[in-house]
């Protein structure tokens, strides 16, 4: 018998994998996205072009295409061969989410008053120092809401890797449904609530950050 409540440990294990995927891809996406945003507002035109191309290319491509590239096409080119599925999933979802993060941060950069960057330049900061100590910290504060929606979408997007054999929450749900179609409604509820909790955690964190940073903007 594959009762969903009797096998709750499998549910938890599956969600733990989803959480790992979300945390790791989130990290990749935030780092790469911040880099792309800095490149796009930076003084070097080649880097601006590279970043803009990447953003356009990836943002307008389905996630499944990115996954097929990372899991199937890249190994044919000798990339990511023998890499654990969790890391492949992280790379696929991280690379896919980075441009959305970049755009959220770029809108935050545009919201930072021009005088801030100018004052930083006037005391002798280089472009890198200006970004790191003055512009980006304020851009992050201004882009918490869009960043949170991007990370929420990303968390749900991690389910796409179910197709490639990772037993994360969505794959486990399909497994339960296949083996026990009578409990469909209950299975759906259990997994839906699991996702809702994850997403609410992100919203809650965003709300906390917004409150904390209110004075310092």
């Amino acid at each position: 018998m594959e009762n969903v409540l009797a096998n709750f440990d499998l549910v938890l294990k599956a969600f733990w994998l989803t959480i790992q995927l979300a945390l790791l891809s989130g990290l990749v996406a935030l780092v790469l996205g911040t880099l792309l945003a800095a490149m796009r507002v930076g003084p070097i035109s080649v880097l601006r072009g590279v970043a803009a191309t990447y953003v356009t290319l990836v943002r307008n491509t389905p996630l499944l295409v990115m996954c097929i590239f990372v899991f199937v096409a890249a190994p044919n080119l000798g990339l990511f061969v023998g890499m654990p599925f969790l890391l492949k999933g992280t790379i696929a979802v991280g690379l896919y989410t980075a441009p959305f993060i970049a755009e959220a941060i770029r809108s935050g950069v545009n919201a930072v008053h021009l005088g801030q960057a100018e004052a930083a330049r006037a005391i002798g900061m280089t472009f890198g120092q200006n970004m790191r100590y003055v512009v980006l910290p304020q851009a992050f504060r201004a882009s918490v809401p869009p960043l949170a929606s991007t990370l929420i979408a990303m968390t749900k997007n991690t389910s796409v890797v179910a197709v490639f054999g990772l037993m994360e929450a969505t794959a486990r749900m399909r497994d339960f449904v296949n083996k026990n179609s009578d409990d469909t409604m209950l299975i759906f509820l259990v997994f839906a609530i699991g996702y809702v909790i994850l997403v609410e955690l992100i919203s809650f964190a965003a709300y906390g950050l917004e409150r904390r940073w209110k004075a310092a903007r």
Partner: protein, 261 residues
């Protein structure tokens, strides 16, 4: 205002000295607009120069070319004998030596008052945090906002913010300070507290280029007044002569207007 008994920077005769800032045949266009025309100006070490003129005459632009926040199209600009570098690390180093105070203060909104003053010394001058903080507290004391050190800029009045901005610039130990209408965004009752700090700075021998319409400041602290109109320097004179006896019609007309209100 806090008065300390520190000796003026630069020693005995702070008012005399060789050229510190030199602009020669500077030209700048914004598209069709010739915003700086044949600018020649030399500011000596320890000198205080007030730049005055109608709106749109190029005063801010002139100020901003000296630390290359605005590049010029031709001409030479020297600070302490060396020409302005192109973009990059060398330019950043140059800017660290030129203090700038903006009309809108531009304090770093996400940093406390103390952090605003220590950020440059720590990151640009590579001072230790302790060293930078000691110096920052001295400067905040000097401009009269020491007790606000842990607040954020938005929690301070405009006058206080501008005094912090002056302290932030001074923390870099600049060779020259540029002020672009430092009091025109302030409520009248706060103007004096900022001007007092600037007068004190002038008395200590700081080289200053100040865009302002505050005639009181010009009379008390300036060695020279430069009058600009339509991108040109039309007149240069000592404050007394300029205000009581302007030569050009443009200057007479301009002074007539600002004296009326």
């Amino acid at each position: 205002m806090t008065v300390t008994d520190e000796a003026p920077v630069g020693g005995g005769t702070p008012r005399s000295g060789e050229a510190l800032v030199e602009l020669a045949d500077v030209q700048k266009w914004y598209g069709q607009l010739h915003v700086l025309q044949d600018i020649n100006l030399t500011v000596s070490r320890g000198e205080v120069v007030v730049v005055i003129g109608p709106s749109g005459s190029g005063k801010s632009t002139l100020c901003r070319t000296i630390n290359r926040l605005e590049p010029v199209d031709s001409g030479r600009i020297l600070v302490d004998g060396s020409p302005l570098p192109q973009e990059g690390k060398a330019l950043a180093r140059h800017r660290a030596d030129v203090g700038m105070v903006f009309q809108s203060f531009n304090l770093f909104a996400h940093k406390t008052i103390l952090e605003n003053v220590t950020l440059g010394p720590i990151k640009v001058r590579k001072q230790s945090k302790a060293e930078a903080e000691t110096r920052a507290r001295e400067l905040l004391e000097r401009v009269g906002v020491a007790h606000q050190a842990d607040k954020y800029p938005a929690q301070l009045s405009g006058g206080q913010q501008q005094r912090v901005a002056i302290a932030r610039a001074l923390a870099m130990e600049p060779k020259v300070m540029l002020f672009d209408e430092p009091t025109s965004a302030l409520d009248p009752e706060m103007i004096k507290e900022v001007l007092d700090v600037m007068v004190d700075l002038a008395e200590r021998g700081m080289t200053m280029i100040v865009v302002t319409h505050e005639m009181g400041f010009a009379r008390t602290a300036a060695n020279r007044v430069v009058f600009m109109a339509d991108g040109r320097i039309l007149e240069t004179a000592d404050p007394e002569t300029f205000f009581s006896n302007p030569e050009s019609d443009r200057a007479k007309d301009f002074l007539g207007k600002i004296l009326k209100h």
